[in-house]
Assembly symmetry: C2
Homo-oligomer: 295 residues x 2
């Protein structure tokens, strides 16, 4: 007899209630995106796009060469060499990460790829345009968005942040032991303590729902204890290695656009009628980064 | 050939590296818990404990009567009436919530339970002892822990926060339309914009890995589109309604204990050798809330 289907209103992009009778209703997130000019969107570069095929579906990833140029180049080389084909999801730790790669000693060719790289934990702040958020952050003096990614900064340096859906390059105990041959994606509360401790290389644009439901591993740190528990990766391809007919023409909302600023404000101030308190704050990792198929 | 099993070091409770040669090594999280006095733990009250049995395993929930006394009492009454037996997981929205309940019009008896309650979004700050966190928060002036739960405050009021694993009572468009008959659990980045907009009733102590991998629903807001996609709930029992032999004797680390303060500090300053930057900050929703079976 009870059923708050109306709780569905939680995120419904319904026409919002205006705070005063004479104000026009605030546009919903969906309306903001519908009204956006074409120039506020950017085509996702096939050179920076990975298509990972899993039994449960396709995952599309965008690399972040402005923050991790050498890792992005290495991952491109590995995908080009089909290094990840037949690799596996090896770890699924609840509220933390899902990770994939190959077993140590696996002789699969890396092609032009390299097994270890110097870290790209952060970069100079100079020259980076950041769309800043006004609210304080627990971890950094500055947070915002650059080139489509969530970032933080401290004045001199800026870095990609471990928000949900962000992808990093696993490493060993030394800073230069990662390469992108083993990758993980954040599937829970942002583990921001990893920021500047490991190289973040990109984010999932599509298909998080395929990765996030991987059965949790029962070994230490969520590693699977038997090969049977792993999920095999059919293939990982660089977008530019695929025929155009097999690509998905994704566009991402430019994070330096007026539309994106409206998205932020619509999430900071919740004017949908369901919200009794309009909030007025937001955390970096709660801002949606809209992606669409090119209209 | 690549395999950063050493990335496993990420959360390994290994003996930490001391910052200076003469300092003793900082104890790991596991060591802090091992060294803890028995009095720093509290038995979880069977009156505040729910056992939810799903095909994938058992979920154990602790209610929060100090913040939501009427909702806790109502959920107790509903569980006592076996209201949730045969209810179902009806929604799984990626990076947001998994939700369960009964269909509107379902005639299952609520027993002494009620279909709607006045909201318990927050409570007076006076009289609440909060173990405060020192780092800023994007959403509230004060964050910390009270009675084992993550909370926030603004001076006059305090409220439970929507961290990973926290459970809330779904509601419709009006403040008094929730009751605890429909519940949701946070499975992604903390949706703190829901704080003070909906009544939070407790948290998952065990079994998050059962809830968090529910296949994502493909309908709006992650609702399942067909009955076949739902997962049926076998039963939900109040701990005090179970024979003692069927209960799990869980203990939670007291959030007003010296041990818990050590836990916070060990997570704020990461002294494990894997960490090249010891961080020095933490967000409310990144602090672990240790639970164990009574030794």
């Amino acid at each position: 007899m009870r059923r708050s289907a109306l709780f569905a209103a939680l995120l419904v992009a319904a026409c919002a209630t205006a705070p005063a009778a004479e104000s026009p209703p605030a546009p919903s997130l969906a309306e903001i995106l519908e009204m956006s000019p074409a120039g506020d969107w950017r085509a996702v570069d096939p050179e920076n796009t990975l298509y990972m095929e899993l039994p449960g579906g396709r995952v599309i990833i965008e690399l972040a060469p402005e923050y991790a140029p050498n890792h992005a180049a290495n991952i491109r080389a590995l995908a080009h060499a089909h290094y990840f084909d037949g690799a596996a999801i090896v770890r699924s730790q609840d509220n933390y990460v899902v990770q994939w790669g190959r077993d140590e000693g696996d002789a699969t060719s890396m092609g032009e790829g390299r097994p270890a790289l110097a870290p790209e934990f952060d970069r100079a702040r100079a020259g980076v345009q950041i769309t800043r958020l006004p609210d304080p952050d627990s971890y950094a003096r500055e947070t915002g968005f650059a080139s489509g990614f969530p970032v933080a900064g401290n004045g001199a340096r800026t870095w990609l942040t471990h928000c949900y859906g962000m992808i990093g390059a696993g490493r060993g105990d030394t800073a230069d032991s990662g390469s992108g041959a083993e990758l993980y994606v954040v599937i829970g509360q942002a583990p921001r303590h990893l920021d500047r401790n490991i190289t973040v290389v990109g984010r999932v644009l599509r298909g998080m729902e395929v990765l996030s439901v991987m059965p949790r591993g029962t070994g230490p740190l969520g590693f699977y204890e038997t090969p049977q528990e792993r999920t095999a990766i059919r293939s990982v391809r660089l977008g530019s290695d695929l025929p155009a007919s097999e690509r998905v023409n994704l566009e991402a909302l430019r994070t330096d656009s007026a539309t994106f600023n409206s998205v932020i404000e619509s999430r900071r101030f919740r004017r949908e009628s369901w919200f009794l308190d309009p909030v007025g704050h937001i955390n970096l990792c709660n801002v949606p980064l809209p992606v669409r198929v090119r209209p």
